[in-house]
C-alpha cells in the first residue's frame, strides 16, 4: 500500500520533471521565426489586434477565433432601436480581415490551457500559441438580478449585445401605443459603454417625441451619477421636456428584481409597470475569460497597463470590455486603442524586447438627437501599475456650447463610426 503510493508519487514527480525539462529545451527554430498568436474574439478589440499584428510584423502567424460570421457593432445601435438606422448598418464581415493573411476560425473557443498554451475550439481543432490575446467582450450576469433570466430577456430585452435583442427592443417600441411607459434599468459600474443607457434614453425619447408624444420614459438607475450627466440632463430639458424621468440610486432607482409576466421592475420603494422594459443588467467578462483563469472575483480581468498581459496568467493578454483598465472606460474606441498598443507590445515581447510605456486615448460620442452630439475624451498612461488619466487632459464637451457645435459633434460621431469600422473591418 505504502509502496504503491510512493510509486505513484514518483511517477507524478518524474512526469513533472519531464515537463519542466521539456519547457527548458530550446524552442524549435520555426517557432522563433514564425511566432504564433491566437486572438479570441472578433470585435473592436480582437479584430483590431489581429490586423495590427499583421501590420506590425507580417512574420507573426495570426489566427482569429470568432463565433459569428458577421459582427454586429454596439456603437450606434441605439440609433437602430430608435428607428434611425437599419441593423445592417451595424454589421460587418471578416473578408477583409482574412485578406490581411489572418487565419479565421469561425467557431467558439471552449477551453484554454495556460500551462501548455493550447486553445480548444468548438470545431474540435486545437491551436497552440506563443501569445494568446483574449478579447471576448461581456456576458450578462444571469445570476445578478432576480427574475431576469435568458427567457426573461425575450420579453424585457437588454439589447446590450447588438443583434436580435436590438431589433426586439425596436419592435416593442414600434408596437407600443401612444401614451405608453418605457422603463430603462441602468446598472451599477462597471459595465459596457458607460454613457450608453443615457444615449439610449435620449434616442428613444426622440422616437417617442416624434411618433408617440404622449408617452413617458423612466430611467431607473443603480447609480447616483453617470457619464456626461450634466450634458445629457441639459439636453433632455431642452429637447424632451417632461418626457424623461431619471430616478437615481438615492431616490430609489436601483432595480432589485423583475416580474416578467407583468413587465414590472421592482425597486426598494416602488413597482414600475412598463409597456416596454429595457433591462440593462449587471455584466462580467465573457465566460472564456473565467475558463482561462484571467478573470478575478469581480468577474473582470486585471491586466498589466503596458502590455495588457493578464495579471493572473502568463502569455495571455486581455483587451477591451473584459478588462479592468484603470481609468479607461469599456468603449469601442478604448478597445481599438488598447488592441494596437497590445499588438505592438506583444510583437516586441516575441522579439525578446521590452515594450515602452504607452499612451492611449479614448473618445466616446453620444447622440442625444440625430443632430446633437456630445463627447467624453481622455488620455491615459500607466501610473503605479494602473492606466491613469493624464492630469489636466480629458473631460466632456463644453456645457455652454451652441447648437451648431452639437451638430458638428454629431457629424464627428458619424465620421468616427465610419473611420473605426473601416480600420477594424474594412
Amino acid at each position: 500500500m505504502t509502496g504503491q503510493r510512493t510509486n505513484r508519487r514518483m511517477f507524478v514527480t518524474s512526469a513533472a520533471a519531464l515537463a519542466t525539462s521539456a519547457a527548458l529545451l530550446p524552442r524549435p527554430a520555426i517557432a522563433q521565426s514564425a511566432p504564433r498568436v491566437v486572438v479570441v474574439g472578433g470585435g473592436f478589440a480582437g479584430a483590431s489586434a489581429a490586423r495590427a499584428f499583421r501590420r506590425i510584423d507580417p512574420r507573426i502567424a495570426v489566427t482569429l477565433v470568432e463565433a459569428n460570421q458577421t459582427f454586429t457593432a454596439c456603437p450606434f445601435s441605439n440609433g437602430v432601436i430608435a428607428g434611425l438606422r437599419d441593423l445592417t448598418a451595424q454589421q460587418f464581415d471578416y473578408d477583409k480581415v482574412a485578406a490581411d493573411g489572418i487565419a479565421l476560425a469561425i467557431t467558439t473557443a471552449n477551453a484554454i490551457e495556460p500551462a501548455t498554451r493550447m486553445v480548444s475550439l468548438g470545431n474540435g481543432q486545437r491551436l497552440s500559441y506563443d501569445r494568446l490575446v483574449l478579447a471576448p467582450g461581456i456576458d450578462i450576469r444571469w445570476d445578478a438580478l432576480p427574475g431576469y433570466t435568458e427567457a426573461a430577456a425575450e420579453q424585457m430585452p437588454h439589447a446590450w449585445k447588438a443583434g436580435a435583442q436590438t431589433l426586439l427592443l425596436r419592435r416593442q417600441l414600434e408596437a407600443m401605443e401612444d401614451g405608453g411607459v418605457v422603463v430603462i434599468a441602468a446598472p451599477a459600474n462597471p459595465f459596457r459603454c458607460p454613457p450608453g443607457p443615457y444615449e439610449r434614453a435620449s434616442l428613444i425619447a426622440h422616437y417617442l417625441k416624434t411618433k408617440k408624444p404622449r408617452s413617458k420614459l423612466i430611467v431607473l438607475d443603480a447609480k447616483d451619477a453617470f457619464s456626461k450627466q450634466r450634458l445629457f440632463q441639459n439636453a433632455w430639458a431642452e429637447l424632451y421636456p417632461g418626457l424623461i424621468e431619471w430616478v437615481s440610486l438615492s431616490q430609489g432607482g436601483k432595480v432589485t428584481a423583475v416580474e416578467v409576466a407583468s413587465k414590472t421592475l421592482i425597486t426598494d420603494f416602488a413597482k414600475h409597470k412598463a409597456d416596454v422594459a429595457n433591462v440593462i443588467p449587471p455584466q462580467k467578462a465573457a465566460r472564456i475569460a473565467e475558463i482561462a483563469g484571467v478573470a478575478d472575483r469581480t468577474g473582470w480581468c486585471p491586466i498589466d497597463p503596458v502590455t495588457f498581459e493578464s495579471k493572473l496568467q502568463p502569455n495571455i493578454h486581455v483587451l477591451g470590455d473584459a478588462t479592468i483598465a484603470g481609468g479607461m472606460p469599456k468603449s469601442a474606441f478604448a478597445a481599438n486603442a488598447q488592441a494596437k498598443v497590445c499588438a505592438a507590445a506583444v510583437a516586441e515581447l516575441l522579439r525578446g524586447e521590452t515594450p515602452a510605456e504607452p499612451k492611449l486615448i479614448n473618445t466616446c460620442y453620444s447622440l442625444v438627437a440625430p443632430d446633437y452630439g456630445i463627447n467624453v475624451a481622455g488620455v491615459y498612461r500607466p501610473l503605479n501599475g494602473v492606466l491613469t488619466e493624464v492630469e489636466g487632459s480629458g473631460g466632456v464637451s463644453a456645457v455652454d456650447a451652441p447648437r451648431a457645435t452639437r451638430a458638428l459633434e454629431a457629424s464627428f460621431a458619424n465620421g468616427w463610426f465610419k473611420t473605426i469600422t473601416n480600420e477594424v473591418f474594412g
Binding site: P358, S397, G415
Partner: protein, 98 residues
C-alpha cells in the same frame, strides 16, 4: 554563385522586414489617433487624415489646440494629455506615413 545569390536575396528580404517593422512602430499615443483620423482616404469623415501631413503643421495645430487658441470640440482636451516631445514624435511619425 547560387549560394551568393541566395544570401544576397536573404539580406534584401531581412532588410525589408526590418524596415517594415521599424516603420510600423508608432510612438506613444500615435496608435490611438486613427480611431477618429481616417488612415484610409476613402472614408467619408469631417475629421482630417494625418498620414503624410507636414510634421511642423501637426505640431503647430496641437500646440494651438492645447493653448485653446484654435476652437475645438474634443482636440483641446486630447492635446492637453501630451507633452511637446510626445507631440513632436507623433507628428514626425505621421509625416512619414502614406
Amino acid at each position: 554563385m547560387n549560394a551568393t545569390r541566395v544570401s544576397a536575396a536573404a539580406v534584401v528580404v531581412l532588410a525589408s522586414i526590418a524596415t517594415a517593422v521599424a516603420a510600423s512602430e508608432p510612438p506613444a499615443g500615435a496608435a490611438s489617433c486613427s480611431g477618429c483620423h481616417p488612415a484610409n482616404t476613402g472614408v467619408q469623415s469631417p475629421v482630417p487624415p494625418l498620414a503624410g501631413k507636414n510634421a511642423a503643421e501637426i505640431v503647430a495645430q496641437m500646440q494651438a489646440f492645447r493653448a485653446g487658441q484654435r476652437p475645438a470640440t474634443v482636440m483641446g482636451r486630447i492635446a492637453k494629455g501630451f507633452s511637446d516631445a510626445e507631440v513632436q514624435a507623433i507628428a514626425a511619425w505621421y509625416a512619414q506615413q502614406h
